[in-house]
């Protein structure tokens, strides 16, 4: 389908009733999960039309998360790059330090209304795990977070934060011992404890309704950015930039703009050591469509259909799949998907820290690194909104190690 045909039905009308974004998305899960997913879908549809639910959500976002997050004009950085003006959407200022909490606050409200008493989640960088443990603590619910053994090593600070918040962190030793395996393990837990358990997926992936639901909870980012762009510049941005792990901060920023064809969108994947080395986490740039974790989407796989190990300096981007809506936006040409290497991301980290006094998460640093390339190619009267999805405190140890510093 071309963009022209699609715009008759608006791009924002997706997915269809069965969770398909074109050929992507859907519900590719074991039979035991079909009923529970249907139940979740009903709750999602109903409560998104329920004024009381939406009011409670707005209230929590305002007073617990601290929204709206500012749209900050990075004046010095813009001047230094010498092209378009750069605005940072400050999701790093949210409670718990990343965009992840927008989604966990929302899903937790659903869990509460559905009468679930046990919360599970998967996490990569630990940001989603922390955001889940946080909202579970607030409601006094049991919380189990699955985390790959390798990520537990890389993100020790967040592991401790989750424990302080009362969550049980389960180390996942199977497969590649990273985010994808944590997701497998969380699914297995869910199948087993389905009656009282709510599974809070942390990104816009997984089986329907998760990709649409997580998007809808994260879309507050883009709605605010739209309004704030009007306030600052009196018009919509020329370009949006966001990093892509599973794709939730990106789709949250993009979605409220998808029907505005004049706004370009750039999703930035992790090129790791470089796309040509095979050691990366860039399924949209270098993968092929397949089926994993309940949906059809671009994947990193070998010629036999086995999922292959990924690499990124940033644990939150180290995932071989991507939310299905991005796969669809890529195929219809509505969004551009690009990649930056570990090294480029690190320079993005240092630049923003040095020039603006803002330390971005390594995930978000990928978006910053792409802005470094994009802004100089644009005119001075144009402007970019880049999603600063999280703060970098959790990554300081990683950055220090790379820079050869020992504590």
């Amino acid at each position: 389908m071309t963009i022209e045909q699609q715009t008759e039905n608006k791009l924002s009308d997706m997915p269809d009733d069965n969770g398909h974004f074109g050929q992507y998305g859907g519900m590719f899960v074991p039979e035991t999960l079909m009923e529970p997913l249907d139940e979740l879908n009903q709750a999602y549809i109903n409560y998104f039309q329920d004024p009381e639910f939406l009011a409670e959500l707005d209230n929590d976002l305002a007073h617990y998360v601290g929204r709206p997050s500012p749209l900050y004009f990075a004046e010095r950085w813009s001047r230094e790059l010498g092209g378009a003006k750069i605005y940072l959407k400050r999701e790093d200022l949210n409670h718990t330090g990343a965009h992840k909490v927008n989604n966990t606050v929302g899903q937790m409200l659903l869990a509460k209304r559905m009468g679930k008493t046990r919360i599970i989640a998967e996490t990569g960088a630990g940001q989603h795990g922390v955001a889940t443990a946080t909202v579970a603590a607030r409601l006094g619910l049991e919380c189990v977070v699955y985390m790959g053994a390798e990520d537990i090593q890389r993100q020790a600070l967040n592991v401790y934060r989750m424990k302080l918040l009362g969550a049980q962190v389960v180390s996942v030793e199977s497969g590649s011992r990273t985010l994808k395996d944590a997701l497998n393990e969380a699914m297995r837990d869910w199948v087993t404890n389905i009656d009282r358990t709510f599974y809070i997926i942390g990104t816009a992936a997984g089986p329907h309704p998760y990709p649409a639901m997580v998007r809808d909870f994260q879309a507050v980012i883009g709605r605010e950015a739209r309004e704030q762009s009007m306030q600052h510049e009196g018009r919509l941005p020329d370009a949006l930039v966001a990093c892509i792990g599973g794709g939730s901060n990106a789709i949250g920023l993009f979605y409220p703009f998808v029907d505005d064809q004049e706004v370009s969108m750039y999703g930035v994947e992790a090129a790791g050591h470089g796309l040509e080395t095979g050691q990366h986490a860039a399924p949209l740039c270098a993968g092929k469509p397949g089926v994993l974790h309940g949906n059809r989407t671009y994947l990193m796989e070998d010629k036999h259909g086995q999922i292959i190990p990924t690499h990124s300096v940033s644990a939150g981007l180290d995932y071989p799949g991507v939310g299905p809506e991005h796969s669809w936006l890529k195929d219809i040409g509505r969004a551009n998907y690009v990649s930056v290497t570990d090294e480029e991301a690190l320079s993005g980290f240092h630049d923003l820290t040095r020039i603006e006094g803002i330390m971005p998460a390594l995930e978000s640093s990928h978006a910053m690194a792409y802005v470094k390339k994009l802004a100089p190619t644009m005119d001075k009267d144009q402007f970019i909104v880049v999603n600063l999805s999280g703060r970098g405190d959790k990554d300081i140890h990683t950055v220090a190690t790379i820079d050869g510093i020992e504590f």
Binding site: T32, E35, G175, L292, G305
Partner: protein, 273 residues
């Protein structure tokens, strides 16, 4: 008549229940699989369920996850599994073989291409864990066109309405997952299973297999009272794991084959009394 249909028809005449062992192809090494399949038939297996290794076996517990990992050390691919079935068929033309696995390797091969290759290799049915009928609107016809039976799971959470829909698409037999959970976890409750099977029988005449949680001859016999077939997986794969660790490949393969055969003989005996 398909091999699976023929198999159940004959068992019915003999008033017997089907014994369906599951092993993962290539576990713990590719050399064992064809011989093990023959040995299982000799020990009383009526149908063989052969697991296709996958890197992300979302519906499997630790025992079968590790089986996949062991098989993938040797790179056992879907094409390799089909080659094993082809070799098995050189000397066995009767015992139905059902592949059990995940969709992605099949997606990559292409539905038509896979169905043709599976049929040519002598596969009879395909159970794809992560594709419900809703998503299988081009997959099922591709299997059917090559005379492969699509086998579907029914679970404790499946409503009667869904059962009706699923059974319309299923052929060969339907597979009732006796517990909420992954493979190899909890023990099943036979009374509960009997109740659910009564409901399934209201919506389909297909034979019903029951699996997940069958650990020994006793549970096999109990389930055999109410089901048409018993599927035993993790209990056998456990025996692979125990022996794969401590012995050389050749010795290990012998021991594994002997141990699995012994368990199957005991189950066969218990089922047939």
């Amino acid at each position: 008549m398909s091999r699976i249909k023929g198999c159940f028809a004959q068992l019915k005449q003999e008033h017997k229940k089907a014994l369906i062992p599951y092993v993962a192809a290539g576990d713990p090494n590719p050399e064992i699989t064809v011989d093990l399949m023959h040995a299982m038939v000799a020990s009383g297996a009526d149908i063989i369920e052969l697991g296709v290794p996958f890197s992300d076996p979302m519906a499997d517990g630790p025992v079968i996850q590790k089986a996949s990992e062991r098989a993938l050390v040797y790179g056992t691919s879907l094409s390799d599994v089909l080659a094993m079935v082809k070799t098995f068929r050189l000397t066995n033309n009767d015992t139905p073989v059902v592949l059990m696995g995940y969709l992605n390797p099949i997606e990559v091969m292409g539905y038509e291409c896979f169905a043709k290759a599976a049929h040519d290799a002598g596969v009879d049915g395909v159970l794809t864990v992560d594709i419900p009928p809703e998503e299988a609107q081009s997959y099922i016809p591709a299997l059917r066109a090559c005379e492969l039976d699509p086998i579907f799971l029914l679970s404790p959470t499946t409503t009667k309405d869904r059962m009706t829909i699923i059974c319309q698409y299923a052929s060969g037999f339907v597979y009732y997952v006796s517990v909420k959970g992954v493979t190899g976890t909890s023990a099943l409750d036979t009374d509960e299973v009997a109740k659910r099977l009564a409901v399934i029988k209201e919506v389909t005449d297909l034979p019903i297999g029951v699996g997940f949680g069958i650990k020994n001859a006793e549970t096999a016999a109990a389930v055999g009272q109410v089901a048409d077939a018993v599927v035993v997986g993790s209990a056998l794969v456990n025996l692979v794991e125990q022996n794969a660790r401590s012995l050389s490949n050749e010795e290990g393969n012998k021991k594994i084959t002997a141990d699995i055969s012994q368990v199957l003989v005991s189950m066969r005996t218990a089922l047939d009394v």
